[in-house]
Symmetry: D2
Subunit: 173 residues, 4 copies
C-alpha cells in the first residue's frame, strides 16, 4: 500500500510486505495504514494470492479474495480514505498466454475490475498495461527480463513503469 | 466457535461455518461472536487450514495461522472473554500415522498447544484425545467410520465425543 | 487413444481411461495399443497432466510431459504406426482467458505443437479449435455448457466436435 | 538405483537422478539399468513422489506409485535380477511426528512394505531405521542437521547410514 497524507504536497509511504496476501493486509491495516491517517491508499495485492496456490499450497480462494478485499475497502470508506485499486501484473512475461498462471491472474484481475466498477473507484489496471507493453516490447516471447528479473519481481524498468502508472492515477483524483 | 452467554445457566450458540480457516474467523468474529457478548468462546479451527493445501491449494501458512490465531485471542482478551482452545482432530482415522496429513495436523496442533501454554489458556486437545480413542477402538486401522463418516466430518459418535470433551473443559473453568 | 486397424475400411477402437496422464499411457501402451497392431493412433492427452496439479497435487512437470510424449511417439515410429497428435482442449470455457488453467494448458499445448512440427506429424489443435468455436458460440463468457457439461468433460455437442476434428485429420492422412 | 554386476567381487554403479519419481525410473530403466545386466538392483524411490505434491503440484498418486513400482519389479523378475526395496527415509527429522509430510511418507512406505512382503523381496526399511536412529540421536526434536542438512538431502552421516543399511541387505542375499 502507498499512502499519501497530503494532496498538494504528496508524501508517499510504502506499507507493502513481501509475500503478503489480501488477508494479511486486512490483519495489519489498522496499525500499518489507518493509524497514519492517509488521504489516499493504493491497494496492490493479488499476485501471491494466486501464485502461492502452486508454490506453497497456501493461495487464497477467489471468493475469500473478494470478501477480504471488500472488507478492506469498507474500512477505508468509513475513514474517508480514497482508495486506488490495482490488478496483479504478472507471473511470467510471455505474450502468447502460456504463462502457467495467466488464466488465474486474469480471473483475480476481473474480480478487482468488477469491484472498482461497482464501487466507482479508480483502477490502475497493471495487468492490462503490462500486456500492452509486452506486445510492443517483448517480440521474442521471453518469460522474464522485460519488466521483471525473475518472472515476478520488478526490475528497474518495471518499478518505473508501475510508479508512472500509479502516479497517473493519483494525479487524476 | 461455541459461545456461552451465561455461566450459571449455559446458553450455547454455534458460530462455525463449513470450510472456514483461521482468517475467516478473524474476518467475521466481530459480527458473529463479539457482538453477542459471550462469556466463553470455544475456538475450534485448523483442519481446513491444513487440508485445503492439497485439496484446493488454499491452505494457511503455519506462521500466518499462528498470527491470526493470536489476533483472535487478543480481541477476546480485550473484551474479557474466556477462550478455550482446541486442536484439530483428524483427516483420516488410521492409527499407524499413515494418514497423509497426520504430520501437518500434528504441526498445527503443536502451534495451538504452545499458544495455550504461553497464554495459560485451557486446551481441549482433540487431536490427542482422538488418537487415544482410536488406540482402543480402531483395531483394524480403518481410515473412517470410527468417529467420522468420511475421514473428516464427525458421525454421531464423533459429535458426542467432541461435545463431551468441550463440556469437560467448560465445567472446569 | 483411438486406433484404426485398416485404412480403407476404418475400424475404431477407444483406449482412453479417465484420469490418465501421459505416463499412464506410456505404462499401458504395449498391452492396450501396440498389441492390437493399429495403423493409426490418435494421441489425446494433457488435460489431467495440468488439471491434477491443483486438483490432487499430482500433475505432470512440463519437461517430464514432453519426455514421456516423445517416448510414446518413438515406440509408434519403431512399429510403423502413424500418430496424430491433439492439444488438450479446455478446463473452463470462458473466452476472456480467465479460466484458471488457461495459461498452463496453453503451455502444454505449445509443447505438443512443437513436437508435431519438429516430427512432421499431423496435429488436431483442439485447444485452438475450441477457442475459435467459443468466439462465435459463447457470447456470454460462460464457463461451461457450451462444449462441456462441467468445464472439462464433453457434452454431446463437444463429443461431436472432437469426433469431426479427429476425422478430418484421419481423412487427410 | 544401485546396481551390482558381480556377487563375489561387488561392483557398484549409481543410477539415481535428482528429482526422479517412480515413473521416471520406469521410463529410463532399460537404458540406465537393464542394459548393464546387473545382478542386484537396490530400488530407492518415493521421497519426490510425496514431496513434489506440495512443492510443485506434481507428486505421484498412491495407486499410480504402486502400479509403476510393480511394473519395474516385473521387468527385474523377467531378467532374473534380484531387487532390494527401500522405504523413503524422511522430509524433516522431527521425532514427534510433526514433519508436515510424515503421514504421507508413512503411507507410501506402507505400500512398499506390502509389496516387499507379498513378493517375498528384501526390504531396507530406511524410514523405520531413521526413526529409530532419531529416537536416540535427536533429543531436541530438530527438523534437520541430524542425518540431513536441509530436512531432505543426506549429510555425510546420513549417507554413511544409508550405505550401511543397504550393504547389510546386500550381504544378506
Amino acid at each position: 500500500m502507498v499512502k499519501i497524507s497530503n494532496k498538494d504536497q504528496y508524501e508517499f509511504q510504502g506499507s507493502g510486505i513481501s509475500g503478503n496476501k489480501v488477508y494479511d493486509l486486512y490483519l495489519r491495516m489498522q496499525e500499518d495504514v489507518l493509524d497514519k491517517n492517509p488521504d489516499i491508499v493504493v491497494v496492490y495485492v493479488g499476485v501471491n494470492d494466486v501464485w502461492h496456490k502452486t508454490l506453497l499450497g497456501t493461495g487464497t480462494d477467489a471468493d475469500k479474495f473478494e470478501k477480504f478485499y471488500l472488507a478492506i475497502l469498507k474500512r477505508f470508506k468509513e475513514k474517508g480514505i480514497k482508495a486506488i485499486l490495482c490488478t496483479p501484473a504478472v507471473v511470467g512475461e510471455k505474450t502468447d498466454f502460456s504463462n502457467p498462471l495467466d488464466g488465474d491472474l486474469n480471473r483475480y484481475s476481473n474480480i478487482i475490475r468488477d469491484i472498482a466498477k461497482k464501487n466507482n473507484l479508480p483502477l490502475v489496471d497493471l495487468r492490462q498495461q503490462f500486456q500492452d507493453y509486452y506486445k510492443k516490447n517483448n517480440p521474442n516471447n521471453e518469460e522474464k527480463n522485460i519488466l521483471t528479473y525473475d518472472r515476478v519481481h520488478l526490475n528497474a524498468k518495471g518499478n518505473q513503469f508501475v510508479a508512472d502508472a500509479m502516479w497517473n492515477a493519483i494525479k487524476a483524483l
